[in-house]
């Protein structure tokens, strides 16, 4: 949502729209020359809202964002308030999702869990963007030893599963929100940096880059004004798929017990702690599990829709 929204509100730099939009226009408007000018993002948006699954995903994400922002006002109880008279109760009118083993209202904990998941994911993703895009762009544009060095680091990181590495970092640093950011950011910038680099490598050889270089544009200008806008589409898609990856990582780390610090609620932590009580208290692990599934699916639906909308050629 946010990605599409921002691109619509503030059109990308002129160079970004010019090349691809002309392309789309000439193909689509071939038979109807009087047709109103359509931008690349406008076209993509129109394709996106026709995609029912993507709209379901967008609705889900909007709901999650709403919960994230309003969590403190709409929670019926405090997330760590213990109702000692109502321990481990199944769902009822008073507690729609039941209470946990120490009498805390599950609905409140679930709502606050949305805030934890979403803020970890969104903040980490912004930092990842700020690290990965410049690194990938510089490596791809300049090549040489910067590129070799970056790619060797990526190779070493890729030699072990990223989640295991995150688990290790959390194990070493100890659990807590700040460390969670460190572990997640350290393990998730690689993929985006590699993708940006690949984009830059192919754009570097294009004529318009050669042309800007010929008229004496500086390297930073070429990268920022000409190359990055053209690499925006794959980056937007990568970000949409990157967010659920981070939500998954947070849930997985908290599941194991190396994520957030209780009593702060996290869906993953709830599933991990309560999975052993499924038989006696089914509601404790089930609702957080469904919430994780709902969140992951929402982002995947939107991501798939965005990919198809931004680059119709990838649709088979």
């Amino acid at each position: 949502m946010s990605m599409v929204g921002t691109s619509q509100d503030s059109p990308p730099p002129a160079a970004a729209v010019a090349a691809p939009a002309l392309d789309v226009g000439s193909v689509e408007g071939g038979g109807q020359p009087i047709r109103r000018h359509r931008s690349l993002w406008g076209d993509a948006w129109r394709r996106l809202i026709r995609n029912k699954l993507a709209m379901c995903g967008l609705f889900g994400i909007t709901l999650l964002l709403f919960l994230t922002i309003t969590a403190s006002w709409i929670m019926p109880y405090d997330y760590d308030y213990q109702n000692f008279g109502n321990i481990a109760e199944p769902p009822s009118a008073e507690f729609p999702l039941g209470t946990d083993l120490v009498g805390r209202d599950m609905l409140s904990r679930m709502i606050y869990g949305a805030r934890v998941s979403m803020s970890v994911a969104l903040i980490s993703q912004v930092v990842v963007l700020m690290i990965a895009i410049p690194l990938g762009a510089i490596a791809g544009y300049y090549g040489g030893w910067t590129d070799t060095f970056l790619m060797r680091i990526v190779d070493i990181f890729y030699a072990i599963p990223q989640l295991l590495l995150a688990i290790l970092i959390m194990g070493v640093l100890g659990r807590g929100l700040e460390n969670l950011f460190i572990a997640i950011i350290l393990t998730s910038w690689l993929t985006l940096a590699r993708q940006t680099r690949a984009q830059m490598l192919s754009l570097r050889e294009k004529d318009f880059v050669l042309a800007s270089r010929a008229i004496g544009a500086s390297a930073s200008r070429i990268i920022i004004r000409h190359m990055l806008p053209n690499a925006l589409t794959p980056i937007v898609v990568a970000v949409t798929f990157g967010i659920p990856q981070i939500i998954f990582a947070e849930a997985a780390l908290s599941f194991i017990g190396v994520g957030i610090n209780p009593p702060m609620p996290s869906w993953g932590q709830m599933v991990g702690e309560y999975q052993q009580y499924l038989r006696s208290n089914w509601h404790l692990a089930t609702f957080p599990a469904l919430a994780i599934a709902f969140t992951m699916l929402s982002f995947t639906f939107l991501g798939d829709g965005l990919r198809d909308a931004l680059d119709p050629r990838t649709r088979d």
């Binding site: 194990g171 070493v172 998954f248 999975q275 499924l278 994780i292 995947t300």
Partner: protein, 311 residues
């Protein structure tokens, strides 16, 4: 081919060396000493006792020497003693858990390949039909829903709801194998089905298939001898990382279903900062992943004669 293999090894070995070095240094630099008892409220060890322990574990030597000794011993599968279970060696702890994880992983992988390829092929040959929607549905769920969430859903539906599978846990009888295997197979199944489907669709619309049809071959023959043979090559590329990830089991599935596999011990050792066990597990994963990628690349060259590894 041998030149290619040599080239790959030249890249592989430094990667693993650097990985092990980084892990080794990282673990030595982290706060928290293995020389202090981990139990809460335990009395701290006296400096003399700590010195004796450091000497016994070789922690008093310079770090480079410690590393070289470690590597030398690792080649002999001696990863030192566990810091957590002070009387047991890492090999003793991980030895019995690895076969369990491999067993679980290989069963899940078999299901994933058989069902995934079948589903992908059926989806491609019945485009926009029931199988295609089923394939897309499973691919979406399998790729995006984490396996520990799937495990909870499966327990609720199959064990508590439909009661088709009894309450289990552990790894003794084949009944215990059903749920963890099913849950673990879902993600690779989804990936394989998706790859097979798109590669099949590409093959079906290619010129040589049209030629095969034009020659009057039966649809069945065209599919089996012309399409399948070529379409199954691309999915092979993803098998390397997939085998490495799945065949080694999953900590999450192992925790939920109480499977005594390597993943569970890995988590336990991370929580207790049992560095020798952590190092051993990481080295194992690193080597295993690199080896699987190499095997798949070589296989790829054998199956597809168009690919020349010598370049």
């Amino acid at each position: 081919m041998s030149r290619y293999l040599a080239g790959r090894l030249v890249v592989m070995i430094p990667t693993i060396v650097v990985l092990s070095l980084v892990l080794f240094v990282l673990m030595r630099l982290t706060p928290g000493s293995p020389l202090q008892p981990i139990a809460p409220n335990a009395n701290p060890l006296s400096p003399e006792a700590q010195e004796a322990l450091a000497k016994e574990w070789g922690l008093d030597k310079p770090i480079i020497e410690q590393y070289l000794v470690y590597v030398w011993k690792a080649f002999q599968l001696d990863f030192g003693m566990s810091y957590l279970y002070k009387t047991r060696s890492v090999t003793e702890i991980l030895g019995p858990t690895l076969p369990v994880s491999l067993h679980l992983g290989l069963m899940a992988l078999t299901i994933a390949i058989v069902v995934g390829v079948t589903l992908g092929v059926l989806a491609a040959t019945h485009r926009n039909g029931g199988f295609d929607y089923l394939c897309t549905f499973i691919a979406m769920i399998g790729v995006s829903v984490p396996n520990f969430v799937m495990a909870i859903v499966f327990i609720i539906v199959f064990v508590m709801g439909l009661k088709v599978i009894p309450y289990t846990g552990g790894w003794e009888s084949p009944v215990d194998w059903i749920m963890p295997t099913l849950v673990l197979s879902l993600a690779p199944l989804a990936i394989i089905a998706r790859y097979t489907r798109s590669s099949m669709i590409e093959a079906i619309s290619s010129d040589y298939v049209r030629t095969a049809r034009a020659k009057g071959n039966s649809e069945r023959r065209v599919m089996l001898y012309h399409v399948l043979k070529n379409a199954l090559i691309p999915p092979l590329t993803i098998m390397g990382p997939l085998v490495a990830a799945v065949a080694t089991g999953s900590p999450f599935v192992e925790i939920i279903f109480r499977v005594p596999g390597m993943g569970r011990y890995f988590i336990e050792s991370v929580l207790a900062r049992d560095y020798p066990v952590i190092m051993a597990v990481f080295l194992f994963y690193g080597v295993f992943l690199q080896a699987m990628n190499l095997v798949v690349d070589v296989l790829y060259g054998i199956v597809d004669p168009r690919i020349r590894l010598d370049g």
